[in-house]
Amino acid sequence: MPYSDKILEHYNNPRNVGSLDRQDPNVGTGIVGAPECGDVLKLQILVDENDNIIDAKFKTFGCGSAIASSSLATEWLKGRKLDDALEIKNTDIARELALPPVKIHCSVLAEDAIRAAVADLKRKRAARQAAAVGAAPSGKSGELP
């Protein structure tokens, strides 16, 4: 059987399938891959004000290895600090799932999805901060220099 027990386990009992609210300012969303390639991973993280990842969800269009890689990723993300999420390497995922060489790219996709989700959250936060800074300083309403 080319599928390891770990891959089958994640496939048959995937962790954290679902969606978070994309509009939520505390949610980071990463979508990587392309339908033409046969792999699309959507990974989302919910982060609190102390940068703890308190929830993670995924949806995947792809083979069993892609599903297992993204399921495992959400498992590893929950409870991590936001910046620690970037420590997760595709090689760790591949090793944990015993991915065969031809499926390594699935773990790469999962790592990319994590990065994309983190980047999305940071971008949202930066935009909010910029908007807050750009608003008139408190006490002087409507006054222009």
Partner: protein, 403 residues
Amino acid sequence: MRRIYLDNNATTQVDPRVLDAMLPYFCEKFGNAASRNHVFGWEAEQAVEQARQQVAAVIGADPREIVFTSGATEGNNIAIKGVAEMYADRGRHIVTQATEHKAVLDPCAYLAQRGFRVTILPVDREGRIDLRQLEEAITDDTILVSIMHGNNEIGTIQPIAEIGRICKRRGVLFHTDCCQTFGKVPIDVEAMGIDLLTCSAHKIHGPKGVGALYVRRKNPRVRCAPVLHGGGHERGMRSGTLNVPAIVGLGMAAELCRLHMGTEPARLAALRDRLRDGILSRLEDVRVNGSLTHRTPSNLNLSFAYVEGESLMMGMPEIAVSSGSACTSASLEPSYVLRAIGVGEDLAHGSIRFSVGRFNTAEEIDYVIERVVATVRRLRQMSPLYELAREGIDPASVVWTRS
């Protein structure tokens, strides 16, 4: 674990009656069919000649026109390379089509590298060639047209009799790969103007490793250079000691097909239609690939939108089918046959081929319907593409980041 086999286009279970027919030729009547001087050789030769008749009877040929091979790949190689070599001074142009099996396309590519010109006709959305395009493609330089009777992936049947008529009129030899139709769809080499025909035992509940190549001997007499040189067996067309037990198996498999031609194709089609209707009535966004009307009776090829083929197969490990998904191919390329009929790559990834056979039952089909429907539904719940579609966003309109 219960196992259901629905991959009969890939290979088939050997019919017990075929195995029974083969067994004496291993330990009792084990002679070399070319041993002309003793009873061991005579009885082996007799068995081979009976198999020749059995194969010929399925296609309306003369037994002397049947060459035994190691299978359809070898048969296709002999037909294409052998004709090219023999007729090279008459012309160097070959016409074939885009959904042929690799065992036809690769020999053509090989010849293209050696000074032959190969025209690969496109197919329409059902997988059929355009007869006008065939007419236009044939020139004074054309020596061979090779067009399969039924496609192995999508089941589409080509207009063989019309192709044969065109080739006859234009003086071009016509070869057809009949692996998927031999014994399932009526074939008459005279009525259809066929000059060379390939078939394979393991597609008709016979053993692997043996097949037959029909080579016309009259009107016209077709000459074919051998691919294997040696003792001159099979009228010089295929040297090598005959695999007597396997040939006996091929003969019996052919005979069983012929005897059941009145009922079996209809039974296969009924099972296939039951499977198709059962799935299509319960799931949306499922597309049938290949012609609905010109189709081999046992084949069903479906694309399930928003779901990938390998993950679908993983969800029903007790059911044997195959997929056009890149993930299931060694080259990581999606099926070229599906691409040729215009199926988008995303739908090609979500394709599954079901092919019924002699030993499948209605009860198995009903079980498979349940499992397919349940697995597709589960995977769609997990699919970001299904989510987008439900939100009313066409995934084709999204700009994807490829990784």
